[in-house]
């Protein structure tokens, strides 16, 4: 019998929670912010150098996004906004990118900010 791969072992030992909960995280190494609002199976669509959307395979609705080149924005945020006790409101991060964005990206960023507000999503400070 073939040996179990790392992946098989991990998936066997780590059963995901039954209910999806929206989340976001910063990855310093790739300089990206990833957010997921829904747990649908998804595909991605690159809108610009800075923004990739995750869309539901079933409905084509936005279920998440990946924002690239995030480090400068995150570092500057405390200079412009008040951060609540938990972290930075995720919607603010999306608004920060709308200024120089093309029309399609700007609309997507506004949609992302709206969803992030509805979900009360907060980007918590953490190490890489």
């Amino acid at each position: 019998m073939a040996a179990k791969s790392d992946l098989e072992r991990f998936l066997r030992e780590n059963q995901p929670a039954k209910k999806f909960v929206p989340y976001c995280f910063l990855d310093k190494q790739s300089d990206t912010l990833t957010a997921y609002f829904e747990g649908d199976a998804d595909y991605s669509k690159r809108l610009s150098d800075h923004l990739t959307l995750y869309l539901s395979l079933e409905t084509d609705e936005i279920v998440g996004c990946r924002v690239k080149g995030i480090s400068g924005i995150i570092e500057d945020l405390p200079n412009f906004i008040r951060i609540n006790h938990k972290g930075v409101e995720l919607s603010i991060v999306f608004f920060a990118f709308t200024g120089g964005a093309e029309e399609e990206s700007r609309k997507a960023l506004k949609d992302l900010a709206r969803v992030a507000t509805e979900r009360e999503m907060v980007l918590e400070p953490c190490s890489a």
């Binding site: 995901p16 929670a17 999806f20 990206t32 747990g39 199976a41 690159r46 395979l57 690239k68 080149g69």
Partner: protein, 138 residues
Amino acid sequence: MKTRWIVTFKAIDPRNPTKTWEVGLFERRLKMMVQQGHDAKLAQLKLVEEILEKGGTERLYGGWSRAETDDCFVYVGRPNHNWTSLTIETPAPKGCLFLVFVLPDGTIADWTWRQCSEDDPSCPSGVTGELLWPPNQT
């Protein structure tokens, strides 16, 4: 292996495609998906394994098509099926390729389905890096 990689794969080495190199995923990333119940994204890791380790790589690009990512890599494959959860297998989405994004040190940064380019069905939309493998293609 990076000390915090909890899952590793042997993939085509972009710097020497006749050999393999080790790529992997950080525990923190995977544990977050487990805790948040992101079953669908975890299930897509089965496709990552197919693309990287089981001969599923059709193309390998250098660069992520934005500044300062020339030393990153994209592995591209065309699985004929998808996993929409850890237990539900479906046909692959039509007109899509599966992409695995890898950092210069081998850390897997993302994995996703992506529509094919309208100009070239072998090439994913939005990927314009240098084709590293297979040789003799454009």
